[in-house]
């Protein structure tokens, strides 16, 4: 059978996008407890440490990290994309509320109303095992189901985790991502605030997800949460994070560090639905170690932000460890989604899969940047990398920067990449079944990202499809 010719949809069919970002509102700051002046220096870092009344080792860690940040140039491989960030035009610490709520009624009204609009309390009631809600620099609400607490599961904001479980935090903190790993990790290490601390005891399965939600409200804000998850032997946890911010004409910066330790036989799934407003630089370092027979899964969805640079990594340290990275990126007008993933096979008989799906429209740019490395001695390792890009018009762009380093002969490694376009024939077929052109395009995009949405809990898959529909709205002229 002859292969049908795929023609590109006409640009006039696809141009134009409505301002469909529905989370761009902001609240008043009149009742804020503290707002640091803009700028970064030693005094600001000390001020953050003072506010948190931290142990001396953490204060020293921050100050050393600041030195690393100041000494490092911007990474050259970033191609100048980060050069627009003015690090002195950012508020590095903003405390919206003096007290963290254990019930939503204890959260200040303005902030509670915002999280109501975002649907967090409702989601908590229906299908979550625990929720952390960060607003600006700190977590304003945190709760975990009592039965999990009784089983020894720790789910705290990182500041509380450090206060209440200092020894455990100190044992693992910064061991997966050292302060000097890269410039942005150094920045986070110097000024981190908020984020989650999760510990799951041996054999405990947290069946319902834990969710963290990150909200920026202030203009020129820097949010630098720090998350550490330790899954002890044979345990399981699914952690979900979401984020939004108001739309401003000036830029904000979100630069998180996420460290995950999967002990033998454990499994951690970390799901992200990133939906920052289009004035947020999103520069995040995420890395996990998986020991023998452990499984680590990064399910990473990027819809929002001005520029995202994020490559979740998995170091497969123990025999039969498995890593899975599923990344989708949607780049619209003015957006650059530079996403991907890294898997490093260190022990024998380890397996991994990296699947990257990107959609570019209205001049948006999506890039896959990834690493697959097999260390000497990691015999019998298997890995598959698949990168699929969907271009919705002539103005949009897709790039792939794969790096593969194989230090062992007895391995099975594959890399596949495709770039495709929505063809007129595909549209015609669906429209002949009664769909409008917009519905047909939306259905093709929905099908393209289905490998991602099918991995989400049902409520999140519904939300994800809705967000994609919003992104697609108005794309047909």
């Amino acid at each position: 059978m002859a292969t049908p010719e795929i023609a590109i949809a006409r640009p006039d069919q696809l141009e134009g996008i409505k301002d469909s970002y529905e989370y761009g509102f902001h609240d008043s700051e009149t009742d804020y407890a503290f707002k640091a002046k803009k700028g970064l220096n030693r005094a600001v870092v000390e001020e953050i440490s003072d506010h948190k009344d931290e142990p001396q080792w953490m204060r020293d860690f921050r100050l050393k990290a600041l030195e690393h940040f100041e000494a490092r140039p911007m990474p050259k491989w970033a191609g100048g994309h980060m050069d627009g960030i003015d690090f002195q035009n950012i508020h590095y610490f903003v405390r919206a509320s003096e007290k963290q709520g254990r019930t939503w009624d204890e959260v200040p009204d303005d902030i509670k109303n915002t999280f109501d609009k975002l649907g967090i309390p409702e989601a908590e009631r229906k299908y979550l095992a625990g929720v952390g809600a960060q607003y600006e620099s700190e977590v304003v609400y945190h709760q975990i189901r009592e039965d999990l607490e009784k089983q020894g599961v720790i789910f705290k904001d990182m500041d509380t985790g450090l206060r209440e479980h200092e020894d455990l935090v100190r044992e693992y903190f910064s061991t997966v991502i050292p302060a000097n790993d890269n410039k942005l990790a150094a920045l986070n290490s110097a000024v981190w605030s908020g984020g989650s601390f999760v510990y799951v005891p041996p054999g405990v399965h947290v069946e319902m997800p834990l969710q963290a939600y990150f909200r920026i409200n202030t203009e020129n804000m820097g949010q630098f949460e720090r998350t550490l998850i330790i899954a002890d032997e044979g345990s399981f946890v699914h952690y979900i994070e979401g984020c939004t911010a108001p739309t401003y004409t000036t830029d904000s910066l979100h630069s998180a560090v996420v460290e995950i330790v999967c002990k033998p036989g454990s499994r951690v799934r970390y799901t992200t639905i990133q939906n920052w407003s289009h004035n947020v630089y999103n520069l995040v370092t995420k890395r996990a170690v998986a020991h023998e027979r452990a499984t680590m899964e990064w399910i990473d969805g990027n819809l929002g932000s001005k520029l995202t640079m994020k490559y979740p990594s998995i170091y497969l340290m123990g025999e039969h460890a498995h890593g899975e990275i599923l990344s989708i990126a949607f780049a619209g007008n003015g957006q650059h989604q530079d996403a991907g993933g890294k898997c490093v096979h260190i022990a024998p008989n380890t397996t991994s899969t990296i699947t990257s799906k990107s959609i570019s429209k209205d001049g948006g740019r999506a890039s896959y940047r990834g690493l697959l490395e097999v260390a000497p001695g990691a015999t019998g390792s298997k890995s598959k990398v698949v990168c699929d890009a969907l271009l919705l018009d002539e103005e949009s762009r897709s790039d792939t920067y794969p790096t593969i380093r194989i230090g062992e002969d007895d391995v099975d490694v594959g890399h596949e990449a495709t770039v495709s376009k929505i063809g007129e024939e595909q549209l015609f077929y669906l429209m002949s079944r009664g769909l409008t052109e917009e519905e047909a395009s939306g259905m093709i995009v929905g099908g393209f990202i289905e490998p991602f949405t099918r991995e989400l809990p049902m409520e999140y898959a519904v939300e994800m499809n809705r967000l994609i529909e919003l992104q697609m709205e108005g794309s047909i002229g």
Binding site: T175, I177, P178, D181, A375
Partner: protein, 108 residues
């Protein structure tokens, strides 16, 4: 096959007190020698992560570690093994001793 080793004089023992470090060259390789509160250790001056210099990084004699100055991996000087990522392979270690008040390094 028998491996041959060369013994190199590093310096008089008094010149490398507790907490001090010194980098020497042997057989075209740079090697860092460290005094961890009286115990001497030597590792190759090459981070296994990206082959950059290692021994001039911050040295903590209490924990007997050196931190890679380029990406922050912490190496245990007793074993050469990294305690933190991004390095995951050990670096080479060398035998070092004091003989006749001189620190001697054995390079194979």
């Amino acid at each position: 096959m028998t491996e041959t080793s060369t013994t190199i004089d590093v310096c008089p023992a008094a010149e490398l007190p507790a907490g001090a470090t010194r980098i020497v060259e042997a057989d075209g390789r740079k090697i860092g020698v460290f005094n961890c509160d009286g115990a001497l250790h030597a590792i190759e001056d090459r981070c296994s992560h990206d082959d950059g210099p290692l021994a001039e990084g911050p040295f903590d004699p209490d924990s007997c570690t050196v931190e890679c100055p380029r990406h922050g991996s912490l190496f245990d000087l007793r074993t050469g093994r990294p305690r933190t990522l991004p390095a995951y392979l050990p670096v080479e270690t060398f035998s070092v001793r004091i003989e006749d008040d001189t620190i001697k390094l054995e390079v194979s």
